[in-house]
């Protein structure tokens, strides 16, 4: 029972009074971040990384805190989906389809508790799946050489571009932007600056945290200036919150199926939680058929996307931890966190830093239980927080972002760069260019180039080497298929229209 021994190790790391305190704080903070409209898991975690870093927490504590915030934000996202019809982030979009109608029928409390339980089931099963699958995948990953890694990174960009966006060219361009930015700085092999334009501030390269906070948090300010903070008032009443046992029992198979579908979608590199919640919802909708009444506010329509979404978030950790390839925007931010803590994900992580990995897995389980216990009695407090007006919230978020980035290097240059990324993020999102590939490009650019260079050095510059093993060829085929196939599947995989008042 290797897994149980490892899990015991993980709990011995993660279950001290101080880390438990951090887990509770993180869950509380995360739920608030997720619930606030305009702040999702990605930007919430991104803003907090530099601040955690300056607090001087050790790796395990920081990891516990941030994973609790991450899971908390995934939980909290459903509150604004159900009560305001505003998804906190893209995966929560599917929850609005049945959650908001259910809330309008006066069953807001039931919908909130049910989605909380569904989130718990999805996240728990995904964490179990992670424990079973990740060590196996880590063993396979030992066969990966530079050619395989190059193809793997390519696969991540292709599937991300293919599945998560409406226009392949725009997604690929976004990835190129990120990769291009990652090239800036002093070259590791020659020691000479590349593409810096002689600017001394750029010799260190551009910190991915600056880009993440700019693209996700600062860009949001411009969207709120454009909309003048409208559309964030609560339209439905929340009465007494009870536990709807009947609905929970009635949706148990839905939750299990949705968790399975979500987990598989999460494992695919680049696909992530949006696809997980979408597939889970659509599967349940087709199983229930016309009579199921999906879209009119049925409990199954709330449980399925929430279980799928949270399960996919857990599944996305499998490729992130074993191969260093994140499956979604939020896992990209978590990868950024690991890199800030000087932990390099990859197959060796499971053997060399077993305490960190299993500590992380244990803290996921802890966070999950804390969240369930916290969410049912305290849901009213979180709902109160939704009434914080945008004209206080957004300036506050901006100022916290500034302090966080300023604390990294104490340089005005990073702050100006962050504002620049904010403007870029606004324009890109207006033009329907996804911003997650940009982040992924900045995060992975250095490693992808490294893999290519080692492959070229090993083969003496022969490009055929990139296709020299069955694994590499398989990854190339998957990458091309993942990029091309959605062009033809777009008609089939049409998203259902959002609910309007």
């Amino acid at each position: 029972m290797d897994i149980l021994a490892n899990l015991a190790l993980g709990f011995s790391v993660a279950l001290s009074p101080f880390t438990l305190f951090l887990a509770v704080c993180g869950c509380f903070l995360g739920t608030i971040i997720g619930a606030l409209p305009g702040l999702g898991p990605s930007n919430g975690v991104a803003i907090l990384i530099p601040i955690t870093f300056t607090l001087g927490l050790d790796a395990t504590s920081a990891l516990v805190l941030m994973t609790s915030v991450y899971y908390g934000a995934m939980y909290g996202g459903r509150i604004s989906s159900i009560l305001l019809n505003i998804p906190g982030d893209e995966p929560a979009l599917m929850t609005t389809l049945d959650g908001y109608p259910m809330a309008k029928q006066g069953r807001a409390g039931d919908a909130l508790v049910l989605s909380g339980v569904a989130s718990f089931v999805g996240a728990l099963l995904a964490t179990v799946g992670l424990m079973l699958l990740a060590p196996t995948l880590a063993r396979v990953a030992f066969f990966f050489g530079p050619a395989e890694y190059f193809a793997l990174y390519l696969l991540a960009f292709c599937t991300l571009g293919g599945m998560a966006s409406n226009n392949q060219a725009k997604a690929a361009l976004a990835a190129c932007m990120g990769l291009g930015i990652a090239m800036i700085g002093v070259d590791s092999s020659s020691g000479l600056p590349r593409l810096t334009g002689g600017n001394l501030h750029l010799f260190d390269g551009i910190d991915f945290l600056v880009a993440i906070v700019g693209l996700f948090a600062i860009a949001e300010v411009f969207f709120f200036i454009e909309s003048h903070g409208k559309g964030s008032s609560i339209g439905v009443k929340l009465d007494k919150v009870r536990i709807p046992w009947k609905d929970i029992m009635a949706t148990k198979w839905t939750m299990l199926r949705a968790s399975g579908v979500g987990f598989i979608a999460g494992i695919l590199p680049g696909a992530g939680a949006s696809l997980g919640s979408f597939l889970a919802y659509m599967t349940e909708k087709s199983i229930a058929g016309e009579k199921g009444g999906f879209g009119t506010g049925v409990p199954k329509g709330v449980a399925a996307p929430e279980a799928g979404n949270n399960s996919a978030a857990g599944g996305a950790l499998v490729p992130m931890l074993t191969l260093g390839v994140p499956g979604s925007g939020t896992t990209a931010v978590l990868l950024a966190l690991l890199m800030t803590l000087n932990i390099t994900p990859g197959p060796t992580l499971f053997t060399e830093k077993a305490d960190v990995v299993w500590g992380l897995i244990a803290s996921l389980l802890i966070a999950n239980v804390v969240l369930l216990l916290m969410n049912v009695p305290m849901v009213k407090i979180f709902v109160k927080i939704l009434s914080v007006p945008a004209w206080v919230l957004l300036p506050g978020v901006t100022m916290i972002s500034f302090v966080g980035i300023y604390s990294l290097s104490g340089s005005y240059f990073d702050l100006l760069l962050m504002v620049g990324f904010g403007v870029l993020g606004y324009i890109l999102r207006k033009l329907d260019v996804p911003t997650v590939p940009v982040i992924l490009g900045i995060l992975l650019g250095g490693k992808m180039e490294d893999a290519l260079r080692r492959a070229m050095t090993l083969s003496d510059g022969d490009p055929i080497y990139l296709f020299s093993s069955p694994i590499a060829i398989g990854l190339w085929v998957a990458a091309i298929a993942g990029f091309v196939a959605p062009m033809f599947l777009r008609g089939v995989l049409k998203k259902p229209p959002a609910v309007t008042d």
Binding site: L173, M177, G180, S190, G229, T398, L416, G422, K430, M456
Partner: protein, 162 residues
């Protein structure tokens, strides 16, 4: 249509400039002649190809904001830039109060709540960072000199700053 064509053109020019810059990358004996240039050249090539695709197959235009909103966003960017350079010489409290107040006004144009939001956020965050999180060195307040203020603001003026 037009937005995407302009966006594609801007990206194409950037990509070509990037390729040109990549061919000028300095190399030495340790890195070899070609390897430091290879990946940047590939990226530039793919980006140029994507830009051309976007130019020739544009999506429908998004709903761009009206002129007044653009002005508001321009002001916001300017305020954030000035805030970025002023936080070093002036410290945290004063610039934060002003910047947060202006941003708040841009989101919801009411003067009194905006002033309250600015002052409240500035003092609240100061207390949070200094006393709760122990980051006093980052949010310290400072008394500036005229020379330091000029140094900071000149960063934003092209060809004058450093």
């Amino acid at each position: 249509m037009a937005s995407d064509r302009i966006f594609g053109l801007v990206c194409l020019i950037t990509a070509v400039a990037y390729i040109a810059a990549a061919t000028q990358i300095q190399t030495n004996l340790f890195s070899g002649e070609f390897l430091p240039k290879l990946f940047p050249l590939l990226i530039g090539g793919v980006a140029a190809l994507c830009s051309l695709t976007i130019m020739f197959k544009p999506d429908p235009d998004p709903d761009w904001p009206i002129g007044r909103t653009w002005a508001a966003m321009g002001v916001a960017v300017l305020v954030l830039c000035i805030y970025a350079v002023m936080i070093t010489p002036l410290g945290f409290i004063l610039p934060t109060a002003i910047a947060a107040g202006i941003l708040s006004y841009q989101i919801s144009p009411n003067v009194k709540p905006a002033i309250a939001a600015g002052i409240g956020l500035s003092l609240g965050l100061f207390v949070l960072f200094k006393f709760a999180l122990g980051l006093g060195n980052i949010v310290a307040y400072k008394v500036p000199t005229a020379a330091k203020l000029w140094d900071a603001i000149s960063i934003l003026i092209p060809f004058v700053g450093h």
